[in-house]
Structures are given as C-alpha cells and as structure tokens.
C-alpha cells in the first residue's frame, strides 16, 4: 500500500537490495519502506517525513 504522506507498506517478510549491493531483511508482518529519502534507517521509514513545527505554532 502506498500512503499519501509517507512510506510504502509491504506485507510479509521483505528483502531489499541497497544501492551498494547489500541486502536488508525485515521479518515483520508488515514493513514500511521509506519513500521520502529522509529516513536515517534506510530502506525503512523512521517517520522523518513528518512535518516539523516550532512550539509556538502549536501541535
């Protein structure tokens, strides 16, 4: 499933081949793959796509 604001949700264990040829495996029932390229835990989502707000903006 492609979410509108964030990651791609993939069911079942997934193995992702990274640009350097290394393989990363996730055994989760569902994995969230980063689409925004901002994650520091590539290729997985770490919620870095979230909007940052200053305290006085509320939220």
């Amino acid at each position: 499933m492609l979410t509108d604001e964030g990651p791609l949700l993939v069911s079942g264990p997934v193995e992702v081949v990274l640009p350097d040829g290394s393989r990363v495996r996730s055994d989760r029932p569902v994995s969230a793959l980063c689409m925004c390229r901002r994650s520091r835990r590539q290729p997985f989502c770490d919620t870095s796509h979230r909007r940052k707000v200053r305290q006085d903006e509320g939220g």
Binding site: M1, L9, A32, C45, V53, G58
Partner: protein, 350 residues
C-alpha cells in the same frame, strides 16, 4: 518458511512479591490479597492520582496479568475486590474526564486529533528530548526502571480489546500485536528486548521488581491501559490510548537511541528503542488506516471515546514527564527508592 528459533531456555517463573502499602486503601487491598477479603475503606475521599489509589488499583489489575506470590488466583474474581475496584475506577475516570477537554464526538475530531500527533515539535520539552540533549546515565537507567512496569508486559493490556473488535479493525490490531510479541520469535518479543536492555543497564529485569520504587504518576499510565483494556465499554478509549503510543513512539525512540549512543551504552541496551523506531513507524500506519478508520466506519459512536483515550493518555504521560524533569532539574531521583547511582539525597538546608 522454516526459521530456526534461537529460543531462550524455558524457565520457572515466579510471580512478584506484593508491594508495601501507601495509605489506608492500598493497605486494605493488599491485606485482602494476602489474608483474604477484609473490610475496605471508602474510596470517594481518596486523591484520584495519588499513591494510595493508584497502587491499590494497580494491585487489583495485576491479578488479571501475572498475580502476586502468595495470593490466591481465584481472588481475581472476588466480588468484594471487584466492588472496590469499580469505585476506584469511577474516581479515576471522573478525574480524567474533568481534566481533559471533551471532543464533539465527530469523526473529524478524531482525524484532527491524530493529525496533531503527526507533527514533530522542534525544541520540545520532554523526557526523551532532555535525555537526548543532556541526560545523565543514572537518569536514563531511572527512566527505564519506571517504564519497566509497562514494558515487561508490553502489548498485554491492548490484547484484551481483540475479542471486542471485528473484521478489518481486528485483523490490523492483531497484526500490530503479533509484531509486538516478536512475530513468533520470543527473542524479538518487545517485552523480552526490554528485559535485555534492563540487564545491559544493570537493572533488575524480573517482572514487577520496581513496583515499590515507582510513584503514582508511573502507575497511573499503566492503570489507564488496564482499565480501558478490561472494560468492553471503554474499547474506544483503549484504541485511542494505543494510537497515542504508536503515533508518538517512533521519534521518541529515536531520541532515546541517540541518548544511549551519546552515553556510550552497549548495543544490547540500545536495541529495544532502535527496534521501536522502525516498528512504530509501521504501527502508526496500521493503527490509523487499519484499526481506527474501519472501527469508526463500523462504530461511529466510538469517536468520542477514541479522542478521550488519546487525550487522557497524553495528560497522564505529561504528568509523568513533568515529575521526572522537575526532580532531575533539582538533581534528585524521581523514584521512591532511588537506584544506587542516583545522586545522594541531600540533607535539608539548614
């Protein structure tokens, strides 16, 4: 799929010891658990978020999880204890309803509430922010000791709600819970990862070890989960509580990982929060899209309680965070019995 499980050796598990009472109500409840039902004092006069009520409630809820050493299993359904529990729950819930603003009960209000949790405040105040920036090792260990009351039974309070859901909401909730329980691998179970972290931080990882040490603010957060999990009528609030945790945990976990790396703590300690960065980025999506959306389609009347669950758990989380930050700012422990590496209790100023 064939997976060889690197299973921890099965071992005998002892239930924890009963805690020390903290007032007349908890003394009567703990006395009843130890010696059989006793006359219980009136609940109405008790401070809703105070140590006495929160500990008494915690002990009664614990009968539904692992029980206590020397306490009969059958007391779980003892009518006199259930009666006093119901009175305490009423006091606790009434206080929460007074302290959090009500929603208009619309589905839009749920969406707006969830939306507000999906932004990251910069320079925010909070325990994980403090620990990332300048937290000390003893403060991090203390935080973990507080958290152990929930995380050593992580996902258990939310498992109660499974039987109360149906269709897609149930399937998605079970998917999240399955991941919490290690997706079939006991060594990846979140409660197990938490215990491993405790051992790596030289803390006592046995279930309930820090019950006597934890203040009412810590107990109240766990009690809210048990309360909402055990009552079908509060299933909406339970889902709200679950959403609150799953939506806010990933960035908070990232800050805790950075705090631990800054403090040069071992990988075995870091793994629990590192796992939660990725896991809760998934769970956030599943809870919003998989659980809440179909649940509201099936039972729109739950909208008000979902918002209540989010706000009540946020309110209690803030009380807990405030306590830790206030005490730490004074150079003091926020545990009732400080860990050995906490600053010594200073003599009163003369």
């Amino acid at each position: 799929m064939t997976t060889v499980l690197r299973t921890s050796r099965p071992r005998l598990v002892e239930p924890p010891a009963l805690p020390e009472p903290r007032g007349p109500l908890s003394a009567a409840v703990i006395g009843s658990l130890r010696r059989g039902p006793e006359i219980l004092p009136p609940v109405e006069v008790t401070e809703p978020y105070g140590d006495d009520l929160q500990l008494a409630l915690y002990c009664l809820y614990e009968l539904h999880y692992r029980g206590f050493a020397g306490v009969e299993d059958d007391l779980e359904w003892e009518p006199s204890l259930l009666t006093v529990r119901a009175a305490m729950e009423r006091v606790f819930l009434d206080a929460l309803h007074d302290d959090v603003s009500p929603s208009d009960g619309s589905i839009d209000a749920v969406d707006a509430e969830l939306e507000s949790l999906l932004v990251e405040p910069l320079e925010a105040r909070g325990v994980s922010h403090h620990l990332r920036r300048e937290g000390e090792r003893w403060q991090l260990r203390e935080y973990v000791a507080h958290r152990s009351l929930y995380h050593l039974k992580e996902a258990d309070p939310q498992a109660w709600v499974i039987a109360r859901l149906d269709g897609p909401a149930k399937a998605a909730l079970v998917t999240v819970e399955h991941d919490e329980y290690g997706a079939g691998n006991p060594d990846r179970m979140h409660a197990h990862l938490f215990a491993e972290m405790m051992l790596a931080l030289a803390l006592d990882a046995s279930y309930g070890a820090y019950l006597d040490a934890t203040p009412a603010q810590t107990l109240a957060e766990v009690n809210l989960m048990s309360l909402c999990g055990l009552h079908r009528a509060l299933r909406g609030a339970l889902i709200g509580q679950f959403a609150m945790v799953e939506l806010t945990s990933s960035p908070g976990s990232d800050r805790l990982v950075r705090a631990m790396r800054r403090l040069d703590l071992p990988d075995a300690a870091v793994e629990f929060y590192a796992e939660h960065i990725e896991a809760d980025a998934v769970h956030e999506q599943l809870v919003r899209r998989g659980v809440i959306a179909p649940l509201l389609a099936a039972e729109p009347a739950l909208a008000r309680d979902i918002v209540f669950g989010i706000r009540a758990s946020g309110f209690l989380a803030e009380r807990f965070g405030d306590l830790l930050l206030e005490r730490w700012a004074e150079g003091r422990s926020a545990l009732r019995h400080p860990l050995p590496d906490a600053p010594p209790i200073r003599p009163a100023a003369s």
